[in-house]
Symmetry: C2
Subunit: 344 residues, 2 copies
Amino acid sequence: MTRNGRAPSVKDVAAAAGVSLGTVSNVLNRPAVVSASTRERVERAMAELGFVRNESARQLRAGTSRALAYVMLDGGNPFFHDVAEGIETAAEDADLSLFVCNSSGRGDREAKHLDRLVQQRVQGILITPVDPDAQHLTEIGQRGIPFVMVDRLSRAADHCSVSVDDVLGGRIAVEHLIDRGHQRVAFVGGPSSIGQVRERLQGAREVWAEFGLPEEDLINLPTEALSVSEGRSAGERLAGLPSRRRPTAAFCANDLLALGLLQHAVTAGLRVPDDLAIVGFDDIDFAAAAAVPLTSVRQPRQELGRTAARLVLDEATNPDHVHEQASFVPALVARASTGLIRRP
Amino acid sequence: MTRNGRAPSVKDVAAAAGVSLGTVSNVLNRPAVVSASTRERVERAMAELGFVRNESARQLRAGTSRALAYVMLDGGNPFFHDVAEGIETAAEDADLSLFVCNSSGRGDREAKHLDRLVQQRVQGILITPVDPDAQHLTEIGQRGIPFVMVDRLSRAADHCSVSVDDVLGGRIAVEHLIDRGHQRVAFVGGPSSIGQVRERLQGAREVWAEFGLPEEDLINLPTEALSVSEGRSAGERLAGLPSRRRPTAAFCANDLLALGLLQHAVTAGLRVPDDLAIVGFDDIDFAAAAAVPLTSVRQPRQELGRTAARLVLDEATNPDHVHEQASFVPALVARASTGLIRRP
DNA sequence: GTGGGACGTTGAAATGTTTCAGTTCCGGTG
DNA sequence: CACCGGAACTGAAACATTTCAACGTCCCAC
């Protein structure tokens, strides 16, 4: 039981059980072809020696590892954690390991992670990229490694993607605010290099125009990141606007911004939703858990992950695989921050 | 450049560059011993073929992988994400990969993860265990795999651990409340099977007794988990207490509970901190971001992770390694939820 | 009694990398 | 001119697993 030197190998097990090493392998991989008595003997030997398969050797032989990888954009955002959880359940069903990496929004870290993953010969890569057009991404594709973009619709048809219709998301958020009677609304979000930000804003603008509202009353408050602290600072800028220009509601490009904005509003003595209504995006758990529960545009986070995993596995195993751009429909979850519960 | 079949190996590179395969290996591992001209030739061949080292083969030869693993207790709690980030920086410095796994508080998932990690021959395992005395943990130790318990002080001296003095944490939280004049305080937390919960409560009780306050005025509100929703339901129970028994402050065993409690209080129309002061534990980013910023007991989250990684690496590489129980000192971060900012 | 199929087991080959003892070559020293 | 030492490179072995053609044994059917 105790380790005397090296970990025991199939060879050691074979010797201990008095069989050839091919038989031990059969016990592991095709137990049916081995007679019951030999199988039992081998299994006892494995237990006694504390044998554990060496995954590297398996991989070397097989040519590919038994793992998937997800490179996420921002580990600090619970949204991505939930996506990862969806991926993990799918990976587990396929009996695969999952590497979870975090690029923290930095392209260099992303590249480094990808490099390592290629070296590991992972079966497939799921990624929410910093920049969907980056050089190192196209290289992955050229290498023939199955990969799927998560939460990012891509024009290029040489890979799968899983995303949510962000334009629609922007539309339903702002339509909800218009429904509640708001005539001056802020859009809080940035940087505009992020595709989601652009599309959510686009949706907001579309519906704004369709209702015939004046363009200048949809006020753009750009931020430098999708973070709580940027939300707070957007709140300050919002408070600094002259009162006739000041919006009565804000649509934030994600929930972290919304939480920051909410915090600033409460600190500044504004009543939410009476003085300022707020809509977020993603519907992370903390949105529902806020002091004033946040109205948010819900994305099917786990489903997103599960689908992405399904696609990458199909690409990895099915020779007739065709690339697919899966798109989900977002849904509004109305809560107190836009007046579900009105307080006198 | 394009894949014709298999990924190119050192052998292919050697053939393309017209050298032996040992030389290619030298270019990769000991560039100094290769003449400049050959090195350049080999490097060009590698670039042309798109050669990428096969990590499995390296591992097989080396006997161990170039990776660490962290098995975390609850991926939904940002606290653990921050710990993981600390570990990752350390791993990166040592040029190792990091597997991040999530047991979601379930022993069976934890065991499954550990199984896979042993098969992968990871260099070391960091873990915040569901149950520190579980069978599968002691087996890891017996296998001789370096491992470190994170955020868990263990009596057993056969491995390292990194933790925060939770008793002290409980003390400073409650002392802070006593300082602010509170004479009736609730402790919100559970289940008591979790070591941290027990110790934080113990610290609270100690300091309560030292100030000569009556035992029955430190009210225990047990919860079934350390989650936002349990915090909310604790809030309901708290509101249900007869007013002469109702505490004026609550010390929550972690920030998720505190956020839930805060939400309930705000919804119920209680003013925080005037009607109810709240102290959390962990000081996750969302604590500072709450509508009423939470006072919390800060743990050095990243430092915890970095130290754990340092210890496991020492155990893996230093033959004279001695097990170490690193303990950190928590600190109170006072914010509005206990009256840093008083509103008239 | 022989042919042949089924079943169980074997042994060798193959996977890609690293390491290390050897080999070759060349310039300098005695 | 023989010898030596070092620099540069080579080739084979080793790592642990899986696969597969081949082999032996037994039994049944003809």
